[in-house]
Amino acid sequence: SQTIHQWPATLVQPVGSPLSLECTVEGTSNPNLYWYRQAAGRGLQLLFYSVGIGQISSEVPQNLSASRPQDRQFILSSKKLLLSDSGFYLCAWSIGAATRGATQYFGPGTRLTVL
């Protein structure tokens, strides 16, 4: 069966420091991968999605970037964190890029606090 891992589970970082969050998927090949941010009372905001190695699409302009160095690995990064980057970051995967009915399966999330 498929599983999705995220680490770290929690992170406290000072403003201006770099960030690297990692997501890996097991038990499937060539998944679509997604990064979401969840801020209190604001629902889920799609940040990035990827349909293959090195293929990243950004949904919103911001202080963050994403990379996909391997088929089942998705990394969220920042060079300099802002206070507004605080939130709960969720990674998700799906199979079936060409259908809008593709179900997304979520990881356990990373709680990021920027001080």
């Binding site: 679509n32 997604y34 604001r42 889920l44 999605y49 699409s57 060409a98």
Partner: protein
């Protein structure tokens, strides 16, 4: 562009009582609709999904949802709520974005269960 509205930010239900969470969507074609549940500090878990066919969809944990095209709604129901159902619930619509599948989420409804 597609959108999802969950009009209730919070709902409190007594344990054993019935539950209905509202979801309205906006989408130009036949929608693919999803309900997810999120326990505090956790990722999202898929409850059920509607693609086509029978408009009453059964999901896990005793939940069901009914698709009503005329009302652009996909409300989630449960006949008898358990204390463990206390969580945040998200409705989502599937769409295509630059040729790839994405989900657009509502802002969520927090369910509180009173004894």
């Amino acid at each position: 562009a597609q959108s999802v509205t969950q009009p209730d930010i919070h709902i409190t239900v007594s344990e054993g009582a019935s539950l209905e969470l509202r979801c309205n969507y906006s989408y130009g074609a036949t929608p693919y609709l999803f309900w997810y549940v999120q326990s505090p500090g956790q990722g999202l878990q898929l409850l059920l999904k509607y693609f086509s066919g029978d408009t009453l969809v059964q999901g896990i944990k005793g939940f069901e949802a009914e698709f009503k095209r005329s009302q652009s709604s996909f409300n989630l129901r449960k006949p008898s709520v358990h204390w463990s159902d206390a969580a945040e619930y998200f409705c989502a619509v599937g769409a295509m974005n630059s040729g790839y599948s994405t989900l657009t989420f509502g802002k969520g409804t927090m369910l509180l269960v009173s004894p």
